[in-house]
């Protein structure tokens, strides 16, 4: 009896182990194959000698010696060429602007949403996520029609006799910033709302009872308590906007250099795969720290709720 029980136990442990391996192994393998390995390929190509579009092996064996050839000229070019250096600066600048503006608009928005009557909150939340479900490409395109020289805004202002000549808004830093804020605002609002709606309101009452003004309560209690929401939202906005392609392509202009668009052009227009790879590696280097912060946040809180 006890032996058969033991055997049962062993068999159960084995099947559980097998199940465990499947559950972890399949998605793990898939991600390594389609995420890590491809990036290693990019890393390799960025430092390979190229002949046309053929890449030579990094390691070669000749005359009994193993040779390792690494070409760093792409990276040297990327770090000295003034256009590239300008592009990094302007990508960081636009991504930072975008994050700060989204925070300035999104924080009060999420705060007022979270403090609305409980029965209308689901509707308010749905109204924020609905544009998020609609095509991002089309929402960016919509701003072309609004900001164009002959667009809705200019036509309206002329019709109201506020201006005589159309204001140049398209293909400037203004049109690009407004497009970025528009596209990324829900990413800021959703994690902030998820955080603020869970907040223990008794803490705020306590601060009031102890004589703090509403303004002081907000800065000393509410904001520090929502720190994780602020970090999550900021990373969800900052990291993808660093590599944004569609918005600079449709709304940006010659003055709005973005690294994602440069990568695209190196690849599709110049057909320079090695240079495009080097740009990709550099971009990963630039977002590595924010990525680590985001990852730590996700691990701490179990993910962005409400997305």
């Amino acid at each position: 009896m006890s032996i058969s029980n033991q055997a049962k136990g062993v068999r159960r442990a084995l099947t559980r182990n097998w199940g465990r391996r499947t559950v972890i192994g399949i998605p793990y393998l898939f991600l390594i194959l389609l995420f890590t390995v491809p990036f290693l390929v990019v890393l390799k190509i960025s430092v390979s000698e190229t002949e046309g579009i053929r890449f030579q092996d990094l390691m070669s064996y000749a005359d009994g010696v193993v040779q390792l050839k690494i070409k760093l000229s792409n990276f040297i070019f990327l770090s000295t060429d003034s256009l590239y250096v300008q592009t990094y600066g302007s990508s960081i600048k636009f991504a930072t602007f975008n994050t700060l503006i989204c925070l300035a608009i999104g924080y009060p928005f999420a705060y007022f949403m979270a403090r609305s009557p409980a029965n209308i909150r689901p509707a308010l939340l749905m109204l924020v996520s609905l544009p998020f479900w609609t095509s991002y490409l089309l929402r960016v395109y919509a701003w072309k029609g609004l900001l164009d020289d002959h667009g809705v805004f200019n036509n309206l202002l002329i019709w109201l006799h506020l201006i005589d000549e159309p204001i140049k808004m398209m293909h400037t830093g203004f049109s690009m910033t407004i497009g970025m804020v528009y596209a990324y605002l829900p990413f800021m609002i959703l994690p902030l709302y998820a955080n603020l709606v869970k907040m223990d309101l008794r803490l705020i009452e306590a601060a009031k009872d102890l004589g703090a003004t509403p303004w002081k309560t907000f800065w000393l209690v509410t904001v520090p308590l929502s720190k994780s929401g602020i970090i999550a939202g900021s990373m969800l906005v900052f990291i993808p906007s660093m590599g944004e392609y569609v918005i600079p392509e449709l709304l940006g202009g010659p003055s709005t250099l973005m690294i994602g668009r440069v990568l695209w052009d190196e690849f599709f227009s110049n057909n320079d795969w090695a240079m495009a790879s080097a740009v990709a590696v550099t971009m990963v280097g630039l977002i590595l720290v924010p990525l680590a912060i985001f990852n730590k946040y996700q691990a701490d809180t179990g993910g962005v709720r409400g997305v």
Binding site: V41, V128, L138, D148, Y245, A276
Partner: protein
């Protein structure tokens, strides 16, 4: 509680979020060569896109890819969510978590480029795969499964584990427990994840541009190539149809979810009353 200022802020925010979408819709019914000048009401742009084979073919391909990648994303995402929530220590768990979180934020130009170069390498080594629907599917799935994992993970974390334990104690096999207890409890989040990954795939343009080959053009690629050249009323018509379909889908979905929620609450209350009745009788 909400002050007048708060209300004004919310209203202004919603106007900002919805104004561009509304103008897109309004100007899709515009009978004028000037895209932003009103020239009367018309349905003609809808007729134009219905007869535009480029648009129709691209739309069909987009649908195929989205169906395939949403289904695969939910399958893989469910496994990944289970791995994260149920197994607290296994070799490489931190790396696994990073692998799930990274695709949510890594710019698509990077994932698109790296997958393409990987597939080119594979093609040189093994003669497979050609660029087309398969490579697009792989790209969408690798991002989609991360989104699906996050959505399902948060449901699993909220879930009461004691129900599964009770089923185990009553002698159910692990597979039975999963099928009879766990699956019905996470089914809603799986549906939400499916819808989300479906729309993400339907909408994706950057990584698709890298991964599509000749003859495999999806709808967003067609839209991007037209939008680049300037304002185009056919794009507005496509946009209006998308917005209509998505709004109806999301409305119906959330209505269904809230019905389910009320029904479950009612059933729980009924079960509780019955339990109380039994206790009193005893």
């Amino acid at each position: 509680m909400t002050s007048r200022f708060g209300k004004a802020w919310l209203i202004a925010g919603y106007i900002f979020l919805y104004l561009p979408i509304l103008t897109l819709i309004v100007f899709s019914f515009n009978d004028s060569k000037m895209v932003t000048l009103w020239g009367g009401f018309t349905f003609k742009w809808y007729g134009v896109i219905a007869n535009d084979t480029e648009v129709v073919d691209a739309f069909i391909l987009s649908l195929k890819v989205a169906l395939m990648s949403a289904s695969a994303s939910v399958l893989l995402g469910t496994l990944a969510a289970f791995a994260m929530v149920r197994y607290k220590n296994f070799w490489g768990r931190t790396a696994f978590a990073a692998h799930i979180n990274a695709p949510l934020v890594v710019p698509e130009v990077i994932t698109g480029l790296s997958l393409l170069l990987f597939f080119v390498l594979c093609e040189r080594l093994f003669g497979w795969p050609d660029r087309g629907i398969l490579t697009i599917w792989a790209g969408h799935t690798s991002v989609g499964m991360a989104y699906a994992a996050v959505v399902i993970q948060s449901r699993l974390l909220e879930m009461d584990k004691s129900l599964e334990e009770a089923a185990m104690d009553l002698g159910s096999k692990p597979f039975q427990v999963f099928y009879l207890i766990t699956l019905p409890m996470i089914a809603q989040s799986m549906l939400a994840a499916w819808l989300l990954t479906f729309t993400l795939s339907l909408d994706d343009v950057v990584s698709t541009a890298f991964l599509s080959g000749p003859g495999s053009t999806t709808l967003p690629i067609v839209i991007l190539s037209r939008a680049r050249l300037g304002l185009n009323p056919t794009v507005n018509a496509i946009a209006t149809i998308t917005v209509a379909v998505v709004s109806i889908g999301v409305f119906a979905g959330s209505l269904w979810l809230s019905r389910q929620e009320t029904r479950r609450a009612a059933e729980q209350a009924a079960a509780y009353r019955e339990g109380m009745g039994l206790a009193v009788a005893a």
